[in-house]
Symmetry: D2
Subunit: 413 residues, 4 copies
Amino acid sequence: MADVSPPKWHLAHVSWFFETFLLGKHWPGYRPFHPDYNYCFNSYYEALGDRHPRPQRGLLSRPTVRDIYAYRQAVDEAMAQLIVQEQGNAAVEALVVLGLHHEQQHQELLLMDIKHILATNPLRPVYRADLAVPDLAAPDLAAPDLAAPGSAAPSAAPAHSSLGYQSFSGGLVEIGLDLGALPLDQFEGFAFDNEGPRHRVYLEDFSLADRLVTNGEYLEFIEAGGYRQPQHWLAEGWAKVQQQGWSAPLYWEQRQGSWWVMTLGGLRVMNPAEPVCHVSGYEADAFARWAGQRLPTEAEWERAASISLGPADFQQGNFVEQDLLHPRPAPGGTGLRQLLGDVWEWTQSSYGPYPGYRPAAGAIGEYNGKFMCNQLVLRGGSCATAHSHIRSSYRNFFPPEARWLFGGIRLAR
Amino acid sequence: MADVSPPKWHLAHVSWFFETFLLGKHWPGYRPFHPDYNYCFNSYYEALGDRHPRPQRGLLSRPTVRDIYAYRQAVDEAMAQLIVQEQGNAAVEALVVLGLHHEQQHQELLLMDIKHILATNPLRPVYRADLAVPDLAAPDLAAPDLAAPGSAAPSAAPAHSSLGYQSFSGGLVEIGLDLGALPLDQFEGFAFDNEGPRHRVYLEDFSLADRLVTNGEYLEFIEAGGYRQPQHWLAEGWAKVQQQGWSAPLYWEQRQGSWWVMTLGGLRVMNPAEPVCHVSGYEADAFARWAGQRLPTEAEWERAASISLGPADFQQGNFVEQDLLHPRPAPGGTGLRQLLGDVWEWTQSSYGPYPGYRPAAGAIGEYNGKFMCNQLVLRGGSCATAHSHIRSSYRNFFPPEARWLFGGIRLAR
Amino acid sequence: MADVSPPKWHLAHVSWFFETFLLGKHWPGYRPFHPDYNYCFNSYYEALGDRHPRPQRGLLSRPTVRDIYAYRQAVDEAMAQLIVQEQGNAAVEALVVLGLHHEQQHQELLLMDIKHILATNPLRPVYRADLAVPDLAAPDLAAPDLAAPGSAAPSAAPAHSSLGYQSFSGGLVEIGLDLGALPLDQFEGFAFDNEGPRHRVYLEDFSLADRLVTNGEYLEFIEAGGYRQPQHWLAEGWAKVQQQGWSAPLYWEQRQGSWWVMTLGGLRVMNPAEPVCHVSGYEADAFARWAGQRLPTEAEWERAASISLGPADFQQGNFVEQDLLHPRPAPGGTGLRQLLGDVWEWTQSSYGPYPGYRPAAGAIGEYNGKFMCNQLVLRGGSCATAHSHIRSSYRNFFPPEARWLFGGIRLAR
Amino acid sequence: MADVSPPKWHLAHVSWFFETFLLGKHWPGYRPFHPDYNYCFNSYYEALGDRHPRPQRGLLSRPTVRDIYAYRQAVDEAMAQLIVQEQGNAAVEALVVLGLHHEQQHQELLLMDIKHILATNPLRPVYRADLAVPDLAAPDLAAPDLAAPGSAAPSAAPAHSSLGYQSFSGGLVEIGLDLGALPLDQFEGFAFDNEGPRHRVYLEDFSLADRLVTNGEYLEFIEAGGYRQPQHWLAEGWAKVQQQGWSAPLYWEQRQGSWWVMTLGGLRVMNPAEPVCHVSGYEADAFARWAGQRLPTEAEWERAASISLGPADFQQGNFVEQDLLHPRPAPGGTGLRQLLGDVWEWTQSSYGPYPGYRPAAGAIGEYNGKFMCNQLVLRGGSCATAHSHIRSSYRNFFPPEARWLFGGIRLAR
């Protein structure tokens, strides 16, 4: 899969980032660790010269993992010195902070890529045999009762229904961040340039489902023929279904008449109570149409999050620190649950610039802006995201056909 | 080119539309003209069964053009009867009106496709030798003075500058149409479902360039190395530049040291005063960045159009009725010019549903909604569009890499 | 299909051949009919400059068929003059003769291509409604009794068996033609350079089947699972079966439980007595292995032909002059039948140069030699070949995956 | 490159061969080491069930190299027992011998693949830093004087010319081996099934160049524009030149104005006295035509070898045991040199069955026969071949476009 990089590439690339943008630019006379590593480990920064073609990343048997750890160590040591030397230099500190957040992103990509590499291996190797498994029994989900197409499900769901909707009033609201007011040179308080500027948007009244769509609900869609009925699908989504032969989420497989899912802990029997995961934006959209609902916009999601979430929610979300590396069933109760962690939530919003957005100058300006085309925004982080990395304003983005991220579905109406 | 259909296919397809949605559904006992024509001439309606694969449309030497004219005549005659019989049946009349607007769309596609077919022929055949040619001398454009990158060009352009900007106040405005209030069963007053519902959006203050970008201005971008500098481009746009070897708009070619452009009247020397045409959305976006500006959003465009345009503007625009089949230089004067006709104006807006949008039921519901992914909105119509087809709310859409439509650039800031 | 050219291309190309190699080189001051036709209608002669890419031949809506007939007429008239002027010029006369044989080859290609174009059209249009149809009843083939795998079928087949084998003694024999001794400037007596030099080869004793393999026999292979069993296939052949989904010869299709074949006279019920046609070299080879036999070598075929055939056989073969445009069942009787006409017979011989072979100098030298790679030789002509075009030494060649030629199977052992 | 497998795959595959064909079939109750390894490490044996797709071999991060060494050890130990148990069982012993020769083939493939993997790595890593380098100075090659196109070079080359030709009389000769007479169950004396049966062929008189074509001579071809002149090339070869941008042998690159070649000992300055290596069959053929000569046939090569070679030649050839892993300049002197070792010699012969050839029954029958299509025969072994593996009758085969084998050129006339 062309989007997947070998693990050692990530290890090297995040060191390359520090070497290139910090050591190379702020350490007079710094000599790169290896003259060809810029060529090997530049991901996409056109301003920094030629680079190894992405689809050939997997072919590099050299440098070895050992070489790369030596590279990391050398860069780490030089960075430790640079940080001391340049203390108080806000420009340097902002780049260091950016580098750390960049590394957090690659930590998640690393898990995504490892999962893909192992899942496409016919041996289905286990990455971590010691992962805790969320309980199969999740009583409050025993009777999934998704609002059927056409039915006007009440926004205050009755007690026996597991999926309710939380209503929000529309109006003129503000989303995004005022980047100028942020301490971008501090790890806490940092945000990416694509999260700003803060700006006004007008929202109609809307409702969000109070939890994520489950495997069990998604199975209903499969069994109802969802993958064989073009009417639920965007045209490009339907073309993908046909070309790729999609008939279930990525990593689902049938063995001896049961559905199994590949996890970082190996193959497990599919748990109907867990949030569905590894669906593309097309599948999320098709499921929502089939269910008579729609995906939220990113503004709706951010509005709901800014009203509903408190600091404790960021601690309790199923982020990478929980060390499950897999989404877990929604907790019991009412109210908006699972907004943070578990799975990235596909929105219907195309990834574009906020009004007044300006990318940073120089190569760093390629970080976000140039990808604002043919991608959808996802919100909320996943079980592979660091909780210190996420914000209500955080905008993740992938092409609508991407499935190897931990992506799932929250319905809106 | 996979998007281009042979002319006879368009001739047959628009008849097929009437046969399928009107005769087949509202004329009891109607027998199709030919049992296989549904397979041959269905464009993309999944609900109507299998269809001939699009890339193979060009391979059908049968039915012949003569056969297809016979088909059109038979359908036309039956439609004439049906219209009389079903007078007053609003559902039928709404479909007839839709069919007419559908045919107008294919009239434009026909011109686009003929141009592409002739322009890729090494003989560069002339489609119409009798077309009038807009005057090469366009004195008010003699000194193109595009705001240079980084310069803070005043929004009220000085007299000697050919490119000015018109300012608009932001705020909460309404765009789109209230479809329920429209007489959708009348040709005048019709709109497509994607133009509604009418809804509120919040706009920041903005300015639009008072005319289209010219060939001469675009040539400055080319000569400044725009096609060789990744920093101006969206990542996917830059990938297209590399893969396709783009170095100028489609249909431009150099012969004996001069630039020529292929038109429906044959090869002509490039006129620097004419609006640039046959650029992709990627090129439009890259040009705007290079010029230190941006593309408008569709809401900005519609807001400006709703304030600025009167009925006379729709008569005077360079639409297909002017029979130039080519954009013409901006008229002299001040104020917003060329909003209508000449070239479709690429916006930065992804094509998506307006809040509350619902596609029609049945196969007709595939008309617009399922394409709301990975496309950009274009506004204003072109020299190949019927003026009776266009509205301020009209939303055209193409993937950002498309170049064979008559697409050009209006700058915004 | 990339190998198929539009009919009008053939019409123009054969005139281009005369214009380029005769008029352009032997008529001082000759001005080409159109400056761009060399670009359009050069097939593969690298020495003659750039040419229109083959896969785009089908996209040229100009020149029209009418233009091309005008071109042919102009070239024909000039050629008539040239032939008179250059009477006795052996070099010119040899090129004229080559041009005529070249045109005969394109007459066959024209039929192959028309058949392919019509057969891939969902309407299955009929090329010639007036073609005679060989009789369905062919009593001597009522009990096909192909030698089963592993069985040691006697080379003198018993009376009740329809498929016999004719034995030939091996030894040192001569094949090919002594080109130097041929009157290459006369239509009769001409041969292509690849048919010489005459040379010695050593043959083991061999037997050839006394007629072609029939549809009925080939159907046994299909029904025995031949297309699902890799053991019969060359590795590249099996790969084609998988990639292309082959499950029967080209132009066979099942409708209402019966097999039909597309012919130039339209769809016909498959006649089990007719020779199987439109099989690739891979299918011919797989069938032969399944039957426990093999394909002949070209030297075996030529040896058998040189012993067995007399002038009358060339008159009586089912060539294009019979105007069936389809193979016909073997006549009754014994002895080698159907060696000429009906279908080209795939051999197991790779197409290569005979010892001492030298291509002609100049562009004409590209006629044959440069294709001597990755092709198999076929022998004997087909129902689409002119009988004046064929010789016992004639070497046709196609890649082993080609199916659109009229190609069939003769077994050997 | 799709033909290249990761080194660990070869390590596992050769063990799989013993496990499958020996342990699995001749050890009652043998349980495979791992149930999925047959799927992973079957190369192309269709009769043995599904297998991992070749292009995805490189994606298997599991089993690890350590796992595979454990697998090898387990298979080796079981094989050691089986060999003792089955002593005297000729069928088993023949399979063991076949397995050993199979492993020798993969030892050469391993070197080819490692070289390709390292050479496409931008770091150009060195496989073996300790390899001896043949001397740059090779005085008898100081004045390469290849017979120019069109010149009638005498077959007894004058003293000052470095490239001479050795003449051989033609006639009816025998080539190939009588397999039935061979002790196929002994390592010495073994031959592959494609080397037989022994049979007669008729040869014209011929001459072979008395040494291999050198880098220096090949450079003349490059500098004379050989890669830009279609007239030297087979049509498919020229297409490859264009598509792949070939302009020199594989592994040649220009740095600071000099030619370098990648070797298993790292980048070295190109030595004009060494045999040219890593040319495709197309390049070998084009070079020969440009030089006015041709490639030998395999029968000519084998005839010359059977006359010229004695047992000592097999010892002295530059085979893998010399541990140069690179071809070396021809020794001084006269007579046929370098027939064995250094580089495989492309012949003009398509790889096909000898008269009377029959593949073995069962899966082993897929070893050779099914590849007899679209490949050329190479003869003589290379610097990466074991000398105990090679015979005068040995037939190697690759598609004419293959370049990653150690393939070079001997001229014939």
